[in-house]
C-alpha cells in the first residue's frame, strides 16, 4: 500500500477542522452570535473569549463558526448547481458533436465563452445587485459561473473519450448517446470532476466572502466571514484581531481545499501516479 500524498493529509486535515467547526455551530457556539453586549466590546483574546469580541461585544469565535457554516453551505449548493447543470450539458454537447451535430455544441460553447468573458466575481455582483442582496441570490450567482467551468471541462474530457475504441464498441452494440455517456464516459471522468469540484469549492468560498464583504451576500444579523472583514477594516489599528481571525479562517480553509484537491488528483490520476518498475519496460 502506497502512502498517501502529504498534500492530501494536510489538506483534508485542515478542511476537516472547518467542517467540524461548522457542524458544531448547529448545536453549540460559545456565545449567541446575535446577542449584542456593548459593555464587552473590543475585548482582547482571552480565556473567556478565545478570539476576542467585536465592536458590539459579540464573540468572534462564535461568529467565525457560524460564518464558516454559511460559507460552506453556500459553496456546496453553488458548486452543486454548477455540476448538476454543467456536467450533463458537457456530456450532451460532446456526445452530439461526436454523433454528427455540432450545432448545439457551437451555441452552447459560445454561450459558455460569454459567461467566461465576465470576471466571475463582477458577474456575481451584477446578479446580486439586480436581484437584490441575500444568501439565495449569492448562491445562484456563484452557481451560474460554476456551470461553464464544469460544462467545458466535461466536454473536453468526454470528447477525448468518445474517440476511444470501447466507445466505438458500445456504439456498435447500438447504445445511444446518453447510455454511453452514463455507462462509459461519466465513470471515467469522475476523478477529474471530483478534483475540479474541490477547486471550485475553494473559489466559491472566496466568492461568498467577497460578496459578503461588499454587502451583497449573507445579510446581518447572520455572521459572515466576508462582512466581518469589512467591519474590521475601520478598527484595524486598535483591534487588529478582528481582521486577523476571519481573514485567517478564509485563507486556511481555501488552502486546505486546494491542497486536498491536489492530493486527490495525485491519488486518482494514473498519469501522475509514480510508475512501478514493470510498467516502464518497453
Amino acid at each position: 500500500m502506497k502512502s498517501l500524498p502529504l498534500s492530501l493529509l494536510v489538506g483534508s486535515g485542515l478542511t476537516l477542522i472547518f467542517i467540524i467547526m461548522a457542524g458544531l455551530s448547529f448545536v453549540w457556539t460559545p456565545y449567541d452570535v446575535t446577542a449584542l453586549n456593548i459593555d464587552q466590546k473590543f475585548l482582547d483574546p482571552s480565556l473567556l473569549h478565545l478570539l476576542g469580541t467585536d465592536h458590539f461585544g459579540r464573540d468572534v469565535l462564535s461568529m467565525i463558526m457560524v460564518g464558516t457554516r454559511n460559507a460552506i453551505a453556500v459553496s456546496i449548493i453553488a458548486v452543486g448547481i454548477g455540476m448538476i447543470i454543467g456536467v450533463p450539458l458537457g456530456l450532451w454537447v460532446a456526445g452530439s458533436r461526436m454523433n454528427g451535430g455540432s450545432f448545439f455544441d457551437e451555441i452552447l460553447m459560445r454561450g459558455n465563452d460569454l459567461i467566461f468573458a465576465f470576471p466571475s466575481l463582477l458577474m456575481a455582483i451584477m446578479i446580486t445587485a439586480v436581484f437584490g442582496p441575500g444568501v439565495i441570490n449569492a448562491i445562484i450567482a456563484i452557481g451560474i459561473f460554476n456551470i461553464p467551468v464544469f460544462a467545458r471541462m466535461t466536454r473536453g474530457a468526454a470528447m477525448g473519450l468518445w474517440s476511444r475504441e470501447y466507445i466505438m464498441a458500445a456504439r456498435v452494440c447500438g447504445k445511444g448517446m446518453w447510455r454511453i455517456s452514463y455507462e462509459h464516459i461519466l465513470p471515467n471522468i469522475l476523478n477529474l470532476l471530483i478534483v475540479q469540484a474541490t477547486i471550485q469549492f475553494s473559489i466559491a468560498i472566496i466568492a461568498e466572502a467577497s460578496l459578503s464583504y461588499v454587502g451583497l451576500g449573507t445579510q446581518p444579523p447572520m455572521p459572515s466571514l466576508g462582512r466581518m472583514l469589512n467591519e474590521a477594516q475601520t478598527m484595524i489599528f486598535f483591534a487588529p484581531w478582528l481582521a486577523y481571525f476571519p481573514g485567517g479562517a478564509i485563507v486556511t480553509m481555501v488552502l486546505g481545499l486546494n491542497l486536498m484537491g491536489d492530493g486527490i488528483r495525485d491519488v486518482l490520476d494514473p498519469k501522475l501516479r509514480q510508475r512501478k518498475g514493470q510498467d516502464v519496460v518497453a
Binding site: E165, V172, K175
Partner: protein
C-alpha cells in the same frame, strides 16, 4: 575495435531485473537488428546505451562506445555523446516533430548544435543537404514546410535527417517503421540501409518483426525476457539457429499458403451497393472518402479489405457498422437495409485494432463481454448471461475465472481474445475485424489468426478483415479487395491476387509486405551481384 560493444549489461528497476547479461556489438557500417516481443527489453537496451533510463534504474556491466565506457560517464559527458555521436529515431513520427516549427528550423537547430561554427547560411545549406539525403527534395519540401503537411513516412524521413545532421557514429532506430504502412515501411528501411553504407555509421535497429529487418540487417539479435536468446550473422543465422523461440519467430515470419476448401452457401449476408461517403473540407470542397464501393459477403466466406492509411477503409467500416451515415448507396444486412437500426445490429459486430483501448478500464471482463446483450430484444437473466459469457470465453481460449478481472490484468493478445468474445456473444453473422492483429507481436498474431480461423469454421461466422498489410490476411480470407483513394481497385480470390496481381498498386503492396524468404533471397542476390 567495435564501435559499440555492450558486455554483460545488467539493468534492474526498483529491484526487478529488466536486462540480464546482454552482450551486443555494432561495427562501423554495420546494421544490427534486435528483435523481440514487447517486454523483451529491446528498447530498454537502447535506452541503456543512451543512458536515458527511468528513475530507479541500476545498471552494471560495460557499454563500450568508441573506447569509452558509457556507464562511467557523468550526465554532462553523456549529453556530449548524445549530441555528437549517437543519433536516435523513434517509433512515432507523428509526435517526434514539433508541430509549430517548420521542418527547416528543426533540422537547422540540430545542424547548429552539432557544429556551432556554422553561419546561418551554411547551416541552411547543410540542412537542405540533409533533407536531400533522406529523399526530401527542396522543390517539393522547402525548409519552411510544417510537419502537418507531411505524411507519416515523410515525417520519419525528417526525423532521420535530424538524427543524421549530428554526423552520428551510431544511429539507434527504435521501431522506426512500426507506425507506418507497409509500402512506406520498405522505403524507410531501404533509406536507412543506404545511409548506413554512405555514412559508414553503425545502426542499431530495434523491431518486433523479424521479416521487416531480415532484408537490411547484417547481424540479428533475438531477445526475450531481457536476455539475448541467440545472435548471429544474418546470412548464416537462419540456417544455424538452434533455439526454439527463434525458430518459432522465423516460422511466423514466413509466408505460407494453405489451400482452403470451404463450401460456401449462396446466402448473401452483407451486400454493399454503390456506397459513397463524402467528408466536408474547408469551404465547398469535399473529400470523397468512399467512392462507389460494392461487394458481397456470402455466408461462411471471409473477405479481406486491404489498403494504406487514408484509403477510406476505416470510413467504410464505420458506415458498415452503422455508426456513420453514408451519402448514397445501400447496405443490406441479411437482406434488409441497414443504417444503424438496433434490431439488425445483433447480426454484425466488430473487433478493433488497439487491444488497450477497446475496453472501459472500469468494467470487469464479464460486463465488457456482456455489453452486446443490450441488443437482444428479450433480456436474458443474469445467470443466463453469465453462462453465455463463460461459454464465449471458453471459445476464445480463456477461463471462467477471467470474468472477474479487469482488462488491464491481461496481455495484448488476451485482450484481443476478450474483444473477440464480446463480438461473438450475440452470435452475429458478420464480424468486422478492423486491423485486429496489427498491434500484436508476430507470434501472438499467428495465434489470434488461428483462433479466428477455427471460430469461423466451427461457428460459421463470416469475417470482413481490414488490414494495411496484404500478407496478414492471406490465410484467413477467401477473397481480397484492394482499396486505394476510396475506390476498390482490384478484387478477386485471395490466391489469384497473390499470384497474379493485376493492378500496379496491388503489386506495390505485395512487394512491400515483409516476407522473410523473399528478404533472404534478395540479400543473397545482392551478395552475388557484389561478387560478379
Amino acid at each position: 575495435m567495435s564501435l559499440l560493444n555492450i558486455q554483460g549489461l545488467l539493468l534492474s528497476i526498483h529491484g526487478s531485473e529488466i536486462l540480464s547479461n546482454v552482450a551486443i556489438g555494432v561495427e562501423e557500417g554495420q546494421i544490427v537488428a534486435i528483435v523481440g516481443e514487447s517486454g523483451s527489453g529491446k528498447s530498454m537496451t537502447a535506452s541503456a546505451v543512451m543512458q536515458l533510463v527511468p528513475n530507479g534504474a541500476e545498471m552494471s556491466g560495460n557499454v563500450w562506445f568508441m573506447d569509452d565506457n558509457l556507464l562511467d560517464k557523468t550526465e554532462a559527458e553523456m549529453c556530449d555523446v548524445r549530441k555528437n555521436h549517437i543519433g536516435m529515431v523513434f517509433q512515432e513520427p507523428m509526435t517526434a516533430l514539433n508541430p509549430v516549427q517548420t521542418i527547416g528550423k528543426q533540422v537547422i537547430e540540430a545542424v547548429r548544435l552539432a557544429d556551432k561554427s556554422l553561419s546561418k547560411d551554411q547551416a541552411r545549406e547543410k540542412a537542405e543537404l540533409m533533407l536531400h539525403k533522406v529523399g526530401l527534395e527542396q522543390t517539393r519540401f522547402p525548409l519552411n514546410t510544417y510537419p502537418h503537411k507531411l505524411s507519416g513516412g515523410q515525417r520519419q524521413r525528417v526525423v532521420i535527417a535530424i538524427a543524421l545532421s549530428q554526423n552520428p557514429r551510431l544511429l539507434i532506430a527504435d521501431e522506426p517503421t512500426t507506425a507506418l504502412d507497409v509500402t512506406t515501411q520498405s522505403q524507410i528501411m531501404k533509406l536507412l540501409k543506404k545511409l548506413v553504407k554512405q555514412e559508414n555509421m553503425g545502426l542499431l535497429l530495434i523491431s518486433h518483426d523479424l521479416a521487416v529487418v531480415a532484408e537490411v540487417a547484417d547481424h540479428i539479435v533475438i531477445m526475450r525476457n531481457g536476455k539475448v536468446i541467440e545472435q548471429g550473422n544474418t546470412d548464416i543465422f537462419f540456417n544455424e539457429m538452434s533455439d526454439d523461440y527463434s525458430k518459432e519467430l522465423f516460422a511466423a515470419s514466413k509466408l505460407t499458403f494453405k489451400d482452403k476448401k470451404s463450401e460456401k452457401s449462396s446466402d448473401i449476408i452483407l451486400d454493399i451497393k454503390n456506397l459513397k461517403k463524402d467528408y466536408k473540407l474547408s469551404g465547398s470542397k469535399k473529400l470523397r472518402a468512399v467512392d462507389n464501393v460494392s461487394f458481397r459477403l456470402k455466408k461462411g466466406e471471409n473477405i479481406g479489405l486491404v489498403g494504406e492509411s487514408g484509403c477510406g477503409k476505416s470510413t467504410l467500416v464505420r458506415c458498415i457498422l452503422g455508426v456513420e451515415a453514408y451519402k448514397s448507396g445501400e447496405i443490406l444486412l441479411n437482406g434488409e437495409v441497414f443504417d444503424g437500426q438496433k434490431e439488425l445490429r445483433k447480426h454484425i459486430n466488430a473487433v478493433f485494432q488497439d487491444p488497450f483501448g477497446s475496453f472501459n478500464p472500469r468494467h470487469m471482463v464479464k460486463r465488457v463481454v456482456a455489453e452486446p446483450f443490450y441488443l437482444i430484444d428479450t433480456p436474458l437473466s443474469s445467470t443466463e448471461q453469465l453462462s453465455k459469457v463463460e461459454e464465449m470465453l471458453n471459445h476464445v481460449g480463456l477461463n471462467a475465472d477471467d470474468m472477474d478481472k479487469y482488462s488491464h490484468e491481461f496481455s495484448g493478445g488476451q485482450r484481443q481474445r476478450i474483444a473477440i468474445a464480446r463480438a461473438l456473444i450475440t452470435e452475429p453473422s458478420v464480424i468486422v475485424l478492423d486491423e485486429a492483429t496489427s498491434a500484436l507481436d508476430v507470434l501472438i498474431r499467428e495465434q489470434i489468426l488461428e483462433l479466428l480461423e477455427n471460430l469461423s469454421e466451427n461457428l460459421g461466422i463470416s469475417y470482413l478483415f481490414i488490414s494495411h498489410d496484404l500478407t496478414t490476411v492471406r490465410n484467413i480470407t477467401d477473397r481480397v479487395l484492394v482499396m486505394k483513394d476510396g475506390i476498390i481497385v482490384e478484387q478477386g480470390p485471395t490466391n489469384e491476387i497473390y499470384n497474379n496481381p493485376q493492378h500496379p498498386y496491388t503489386n506495390t503492396l505485395l512487394e512491400a509486405s515483409p516476407d522473410i524468404t523473399k528478404a533472404l533471397n534478395d540479400k543473397r542476390n545482392e551478395l552475388d551481384d557484389n561478387f560478379v
